[in-house]
Amino acid sequence: MEAYLLNLVILISIYSILASTLNFIMGYAGIYSLAHAVFFGVGAYAGTFVATHFSASIFFTLPAAMIAGAVLSLILALPALRVRGEYFVAASLGLQVLAVTIFSEWKSVTGGIGGLIGIPPLDIAGFEVFKPNQFVFVTVVGLIIVLFIINRLVHSSFGRSLRAIRDSESAAAAFGKNVPLIKTISVVISSALTAVAGVMYASYLSFINVESFTLDTSVLIMAMVIIGGTGTQAGPIIGAALLLLLPSLISYLDFLPQTEIGSIQQIIYGLGMALLMIYRPGGIVGLKKQSGGGKK
């Protein structure tokens, strides 16, 4: 039981990092990316590559993954600077599909669909972490650090600039915001932090393959943000917890056929997305919240 809960906490922490980093660009900068799983994957593959070829120490794997995520995120920044709205969503979709093909075909690095096995445990200053009761601390601490960074950014002038750009790009520029630069920085930060989740995920499961980084994952992360509450800090975490607990909650309902649990879960979150958009576009947390601002 305990290990089961630890597992859930670990996965919820990892997905909370993903949802929070997506929320950072989606909720604060208005960059609606459907390619978030790409950077999750880049982090996972880069971290694994370093861990299996050089050193499993997080002092190597994390920076490598973050740099890889940051550099590749410039590809996402490119359309983000050029276009908005529907066009950007379409561009990010295109990027997601491209990335999945590359993840499946670049077999020497990614192992293709077969994936990579035997990924070493996290090595923190010589201490190998893989047992769930230890790993849980790493992921929770990781989540707290990521949340802290995002929290600081959001409540700084940078965060205000992002929200200003989201609300009116032309007005933000008219008040001296270097919109392309700010957007690029936000995408780079978000992707670098996303890559951290990738490293944790890979070394926790000790196995990754492309199926963890497909459009479905991007949609799941997006759903976590939206259902939890876009542009709020607690929202993505609540969304992540809710969607990851959903299968267990549903399986508790005995009258439902076990074989349909996956479908029922998806129907619930699909309906949740649609209904929230009609009645509460702000998400679960959003409805209580009155302003995106806070104290300075």
Partner: protein
């Protein structure tokens, strides 16, 4: 161009032979004018005369087809909007473009922060920033509304917030696009008062306005645009008494 009596004032901005066409229609047609320090210049003219386009050309929102604009003696022909703002040229928008999801306070705060890279700020800087926000809040009477989201404000309050964003900055030139339109008499008295006060403190204003009462009440100088052409740029009385211009303005064009 007609001569002027405020030639003594320093020229902040020099606009020379500026053109801009949209698909064959000249929105701004060979416009040359000066914006002088410490006065209020009003842009008047019928709808579609090219007034807002002129603002967009000055701040770099749109690119000119030809012509030059100098700011403090330096050409700023390829300036981008954010650079214009940092150089001290700020504008408001006809449709306000407030940061709707942000609080009143954050709206003002973010308008005076022009840094792009997320780095910490010195304490003294933060204090100075604080004071400017308080100043703008109190002058526009939004002090009680500071935590309200911009989109939840009443119409007049939104207009004042649009002004407050500009007031908190150190900009030398304000380009105001119909800031008083639709205001009730009380609000617009307050608005005029704020504007006069700010000009007294050394701000230069160029304002697009339709309401003749306001135009008469505040203008030190009036520039008259029609179909992209600058028809007059002179003392208020001279322009307003010109029968041809009156005819155009009131739609009695032949």
């Amino acid at each position: 161009m007609v001569s002027s009596q405020v030639d003594t004032q320093e020229v902040l901005m020099e606009i020379r032979n500026v053109d801009r066409a949209f698909g064959g229609v000249k929105a701004v047609d060979n416009v040359s004018m000066d914006l002088r320090a410490g006065i209020i210049t009003t842009l008047v003219g019928p709808n579609g005369a090219g007034k807002t386009t002129l603002f967009n050309l000055i701040t770099g929102e749109l690119s000119k087809d030809s012509g030059t604009i100098k700011w403090l003696g330096q050409p700023i022909n390829r300036i981008k909007p954010f650079q214009a703002a940092r150089a001290g040229i700020l504008r408001t928008f006809q449709d306000l473009r407030l940061f709707n999801e942000m609080s009143v306070e954050d709206n003002i705060l973010t308008s005076i922060e022009a840094n792009s890279v997320p780095l910490p700020m010195a304490k003294s800087q933060r204090k100075a920033r604080r004071e400017k926000v308080e100043y703008a809040l109190s002058r526009t009477g939004l002090i009680d509304k500071r935590h309200i989201r911009a989109k939840d404000l009443a119409y007049a309050e939104r207009k004042f917030l649009s002004m407050a964003r500009v007031m908190a900055t150190d900009a030398r030139l304000w380009l105001l696009d119909e800031p008083a339109s639709g205001l009730d008499p009380n609000s617009y008295e307050k608005f005029l008062e704020i504007l006069r006060e700010e000009v007294k403190q050394g701000v230069t204003v160029c304002i697009i306005e339709h309401n003749l009462d306001i135009v008469i009440g505040i203008s030190d100088r009036i520039a008259f645009l029609d179909r992209g052409k600058l028809l007059a740029d002179d003392e208020p009385q001279t322009v307003l008494n010109d029968p041809d211009l009156r005819a155009i303005y009131f739609g009695e064009r032949t």
